[in-house]
């Protein structure tokens, strides 16, 4: 399971025309397109809550102070099926998050892309039906 954990495309990519009306979130109403954020820091905890896991990370600001951000993730069931476990993103792990900040200005963001500092994308497993994890992730 762990060997399947690695990269792939995190974030993006929804051909709206092919998908029924997406009802649970109006993302554009929740997150601010004018506030793109790139957060780099160490994971402090990961909350496994249904319907969204939340990744917490400490991010150092330009003035040296620290802010704890929360980044929205997938549902526990989806993550487990992808091979993601509670050991997959341990506290202390350094990650980079590319996303958009919540419109209310709180330190929450969507997890458009979550990558490791060396560029590997945090994602698991099967990109294509039946093909297994991409070769480069094994």
């Amino acid at each position: 399971m762990r060997t399947k954990l690695a990269l792939a495309v995190a974030g993006a990519g929804l051909l709206l025309a092919a998908v029924p009306v997406w009802g649970h979130h109006a993302f554009a109403a929740e997150f601010d397109a004018k506030k793109p954020v790139k957060l780099q820091g160490k994971v402090t905890k990961m909350e496994w809550i249904n319907p969204h896991a939340w990744i917490h990370l400490d991010v150092k600001n330009a003035d040296g102070t620290m802010t704890n951000w929360m980044v929205e993730g997938g549902t526990p069931n989806t993550l487990l099926r992808r091979g993601f476990t509670k050991d997959s993103l341990l506290p202390g792990t350094e990650i980079v998050v590319d996303g958009y900040q919540a419109k209310d200005g709180s330190f929450r963001a969507n997890g458009r892309d979550v990558t490791f500092p060396d560029g590997r994308k945090l994602f698991i497993g099967n990109q294509s039906p039946g093909e297994g994890a991409p070769e480069s992730s094994k």
Binding site: A8, V9, A10, G11, A12, G13, L14, L15, L16, A18, V19, P20, W22, G23, H24, H25, A26, F27, A28, A29, E30, F31, D32, A33, K34, P36, E47, I49, N50, P51, H52, A53, E72, G73, G74, T75, P76, N77, T78, L80, R81, R82, G99, Y100, A102, K103, D104, G105, S106, R108, N110, G111, R112, F123, I124, N126, Q127, S128, P129, G130
Partner: protein, 326 residues
């Protein structure tokens, strides 16, 4: 995905294009039964088919036949493989070609979601089986007016308060019928001799459906998920639901919505779920869909709708913050 592959292995695939659409769903049921020679319907101690377990209806097959597949009710095996690959790639690809606004709206891919990787085993190009064009029938003029008026109100007041947000964001209900969404397409079914309980992971909806023949609630009592009554027709559980609230609003449906659902075990790891939507105040004709369900692995997680999802508060607080900034 595993569950879907397993479902596909169990329910064999057939070319049914010569069969009238109205019959195809039940033909699938009959044929699947015939092909599972060693399998017999498992039964509860009181002798009824055992539907219990955790099931998923995740699929890449859309409710309505896409326009580019008009006139093509079924895909060949090869076409299905290509469709799956293309659709999954579209859902997963990293698209940043629409600017920041579009990027926010479609910022999540299949890592965060769970639409599966396969089409349904019959390779029909829509979940809708009747009308034969695989499309939900047109709305009546009355319904068109109602839907347009409601949409105008929502547009004008979208972020004024929670009541203008949809039922998912408000954590009220995923609603009926049971169609797959972007994730949490898991259902747990529990049976007793007198009732069937269906728990839906999304929004933690639990339906308690009496089987004891009691009549529907009086017409004045309206519920988000209506008032369901079940009975057995042979080896099929039939659930008849009325008394919907007009606010339940399935694709513009009214309080007159009459939903009939049929659950049939078709193999060790599959259920055929069919539903018929009859609402003359809304649709110009009744319509019917068939959604296969496959045994899901693992447990259903408790749904902490607002605790795990700040959408409603983020949307409203975000609107207030932006107003204050102006």
């Amino acid at each position: 995905m595993l569950q879907q592959l397993r479902g596909c292995a169990v329910v064999a695939v057939f070319a049914l294009s010569a069969v009238p659409a109205w019959c195809q769903a039940s033909a699938v049921v009959a044929k699947a039964k015939a092909e599972s020679k060693t399998w017999t319907t498992p039964r509860t101690p009181d002798g009824h088919p055992d539907l219990q377990g955790t099931w998923s209806n995740t699929t890449l097959t859309p409710l309505e036949r896409p326009a580019d597949l008009a006139g093509k009710p079924y895909l060949t095996e090869q076409e299905a493989a290509e469709y799956e690959k293309r659709t999954f790639a579209n859902l997963t690809g990293d698209r940043r070609d629409g600017g920041a606004d579009a990027d926010v709206a479609r910022s999540y891919n299949e890592f965060w979601r769970d639409r599966g990787t396969k089409v349904i085993a019959s390779r029909r190009t829509s979940l809708v089986v009747d009308p034969p064009d695989g499309r939900v029938p047109a709305l009546t003029p009355e319904a068109q007016k109602r839907v347009a008026e409601a949409a105008a109100v929502t547009r004008a007041h979208a972020t004024d308060g929670p009541e203008y947000q949809n039922l998912w964001v408000r954590c009220i209900t995923r609603g009926l019928p049971m169609l797959p969404g972007p994730y949490n397409n898991d259902f747990q079914i529990v049976q007793t001799p007198d009732a069937v309980v269906i728990l839906h992971e999304m929004i933690h909806d639990a339906r308690v459906i009496p089987l004891d023949g009691r009549p529907h609630l009086p017409p004045g009592v309206r519920q988000w998920m209506g008032d369901g009554r079940g009975h057995w027709e042979g080896d099929t559980l039939v659930v008849d639901t009325t008394n919907f609230s007009e606010k339940s609003n399935f694709r513009g449906s009214s309080a007159n919505l009459h939903l009939t659902e049929r659950f049939t075990r078709t193999g060790p790891d599959t259920i055929s779920y069919e539903f018929t939507v009859d609402d003359p105040s809304t649709f110009t004709m009744p319509w019917k869909a068939e959604v296969p369900m496959a045994r899901a692995e693992g447990e259903i997680f408790e749904y902490a709708c607002h605790e795990g999802n700040y959408a409603l508060t983020d949307i409203l607080r975000g609107a207030r913050a932006q107003e204050a900034a102006q």
